[in-house]
């Protein structure tokens, strides 16, 4: 037991160190982030440099913390729901993942806080298993969040504003949800889907620019609004009209508007299958 605890702690510290390094790199890259980091660091809990080391200081509390809860509590993991243990324990839900994730068995043991088996000590570096565990958790997460239980958790997180809001001015800070454009890992990082403009955006903070979009998948965002249509906001449709000295720029101008169709939203109930306004048809007759 004590050996296990020791290993766990070692793992956590290693990962925390990795994370801290990541954060320092990001800060150098993107100045704008500084402000956000500062703000968050000022908010009590995360003080000073030990942003990710915060749970080292109160080790006694987190020692008993399950891996999944600990993983979701890390900075930059705010988008994740906590996958239920019984979902992970059901082999059926993990079908096919063993061929995608390296050190699958060790990673799964880590996620479930199971004692590693004797021969698994061959693993060259604990950080490799950490990375595998993250990927495995992400891919299980992709499947979990389209279940009834997962959707409910994510709907609560959505309403609590855990995913941020749409950067588009006319969306009036509609809450967004994380999504991927690919279901396979390693292709693209996570994006944010806005149910009002039905478009996708890059997360504003660079800490999410390393998060794989596959951990959320292509289906989840749309499933969420399909099951919970009341979450879709009702915001009047507005299209930006460029103007100079108050005069709208004519579409005949060389640099006149060409993209207004993109934000031209129409109630689907008023459209026939070909996309024509039903009213138009009646007038024509």
């Amino acid at each position: 037991m004590s050996a296990h605890d020791h290993q766990q702690q070692q793992l956590k510290q290693q990962q925390q160190q990795m994370r801290v390094n990541d954060i320092h790199d990001e800060e150098e890259e993107e100045e704008e982030e500084e402000e956000e980091e500062e703000n968050e660091q000022l908010q009590g809990e995360y003080a000073g440099e030990d942003y990710y080391g915060s749970d080292v200081s109160n080790d006694s509390g987190t020692e008993s913390m399950p891996w999944i809860a600990w993983f979701c509590s890390l900075g930059g993991h705010q988008y994740f729901a906590e996958v239920a243990d019984d979902f992970v324990e059901d082999d059926f839900n993990l079908t096919g993942l063993n061929s995608i994730v390296p050190f699958y068995k060790e990673a799964l043991e880590m996620i479930l806080d199971l004692e590693p088996e004797e021969d698994s000590t061959k693993v060259p570096d604990v950080s490799i298993v950490e990375a595998s565990a993250e990927q495995l958790y992400g891919l299980i997460h992709q499947r979990f969040i389209v279940t009834r239980q997962g959707l409910q958790q994510m709907a609560d997180k959505y309403q609590a504003g855990h995913f941020g809001s749409c950067p588009r001015t006319y969306c009036q800070s509609t809450n967004v949800v994380p999504c991927g454009r690919y279901d396979l890992p390693g292709v693209e990082t996570v994006k944010l889907y806005c149910p009002n403009c039905q478009d996708i955006y890059s997360p504003p903070s660079s800490r999410f620019h390393n998060l794989d979009g596959a951990y959320f998948g292509t289906t989840f965002a749309h499933m969420l609004f399909h099951i919970y249509p009341e979450l879709v906001p009702n915001i009047p449709n507005k299209i930006y009209a460029p103007a100079i000295y108050g005069f709208k720029i004519s579409e005949y101008s060389r640099c006149g508007p060409r993209m207004q169709w993109l934000r031209n939203k129409q109630d689907p109930n008023l459209l026939d299958v070909t996309g024509k306004l039903i009213k138009d048809d009646e007038n024509a007759k």
């Binding site: 402000e35 499933m223 640099c255 060409r258 689907p268």
Partner: protein, 326 residues
């Protein structure tokens, strides 16, 4: 904070910080004069100024270092604008030409907009009497920032101003479009109202032609009136070559690989709107003086018919697939 303790080094410290960033930035990105030279609208005198606008910064810092070491404060008040531009959160602003500010004609009407107008103007032009008490100085400081913003809005739609903002645009000083399908296209600041204290600044993307909120709260609280509603569109009128080719790419939501029925309908509607407007524009450009409305409506109808013909078969196959979901 620090400013209260060391009033003489206040501007100096801030200025050096700001300068270093900008300098390294322009060093890394390179400064592009080619387009300015190639564009007939830009007068040669401006290009000369444009070159100067980097070198004085270098000179400034040398001067300030001297000031700092010698403890002399004779020169530091010259650089209110440099201090302002170097302050955190003011990255969107460009340096307004001194000549522009000194020409009172350009400031017409601003005296009624700004409290303590003449002191504020003196502060901007570094002619302010030093005898003001701290409280008064804060008020004038605030007025000066407001006045600078309002002058800035007028300046950036002049030839010089547009070119200065163009450089900042090329350096992506205003950030990049958050929309995934715009592939990080650089943004430009824009207002939704020219009246001060009404709306904060927004960012215009010329690729998707939409406006976004700045990421940082510092930028999101800047008054839009300091940039004006016309600025980005004026820039593209003057530099139409900067307008990127428009893309018809669109995000298509899917559930387990299937398109959503309602979204597909909306997309067909959008395609129709786009094709109609395209037809209208083509017809309009051909016969512009005779009035574009008549040919436009007929061609739009043709387009609609064409759409219907093309749209129907694909619709049938898709709605079949969607039966599982709806």
């Amino acid at each position: 904070m620090e400013a209260d303790k060391q009033p003489t080094s206040y501007y100096i410290d801030r200025r050096i910080d700001g300068w270093t960033d900008e300098w390294t930035c322009s060093q890394l990105q390179g400064v592009h004069h080619e387009s300015a030279l190639a564009n007939p609208i830009v007068q040669p005198s401006f290009v000369a100024f444009e070159n100067l606008c980097i070198s004085p910064r270098y000179l400034c810092s040398v001067l300030t270092m001297e000031d700092y070491t010698s403890g002399s404060d004779s020169d530091y008040t010259k650089y209110w604008i440099d201090w302002f531009l170097g302050s955190k959160g003011n990255e969107y602003f460009c340096e307004v030409d001194e000549d522009y500010i000194l020409d009172r004609f350009n400031l017409t009407g601003l005296n009624t907009e700004v409290q303590y107008y003449s002191q504020a103007l003196d502060l901007i032009t570094d002619n302010l009497d030093e005898t003001l008490d701290e409280e008064m100085r804060d008020i004038v400081e605030k007025s000066a920032r407001h006045l600078y913003g309002l002058i800035h809005a007028r300046f950036i739609i002049t030839t010089h101003g547009l070119t200065k903002m163009l450089e900042k645009f090329k350096k992506c000083d205003f950030g990049r479009c958050p929309r995934v399908l715009c592939h990080s296209h650089p943004l430009l600041p824009v207002a939704l109202s020219d009246i001060p204290y009404t709306k904060s600044v927004k960012l215009f993307c010329c690729r998707c032609e939409d406006i976004y909120n700045p990421k940082s709260t510092r930028h999101a609280s800047i008054d839009g009136a300091y940039f004006g509603c016309s600025f980005p569109h004026m820039l593209f009128q003057v530099y139409p070559q900067l307008v990127p080719p428009k893309s018809t790419d669109r995000y298509v939501p899917r559930i387990f690989g299937f398109k959503l029925h309602d979204v597909a309908k909306q997309h067909r509607y959008q395609d129709m709107v786009r094709e109609e407007s395209h037809a209208r524009i083509m017809a309009g450009i051909e016969g512009l003086p005779s009035g574009p409305t008549a040919p436009a409506s007929s061609s739009a109808k043709e387009q609609q018919l064409k759409n219907k013909a093309e749209g129907s078969p694909s619709v049938a196959s898709e709605s079949g697939a969607m039966a599982d979901i709806n």
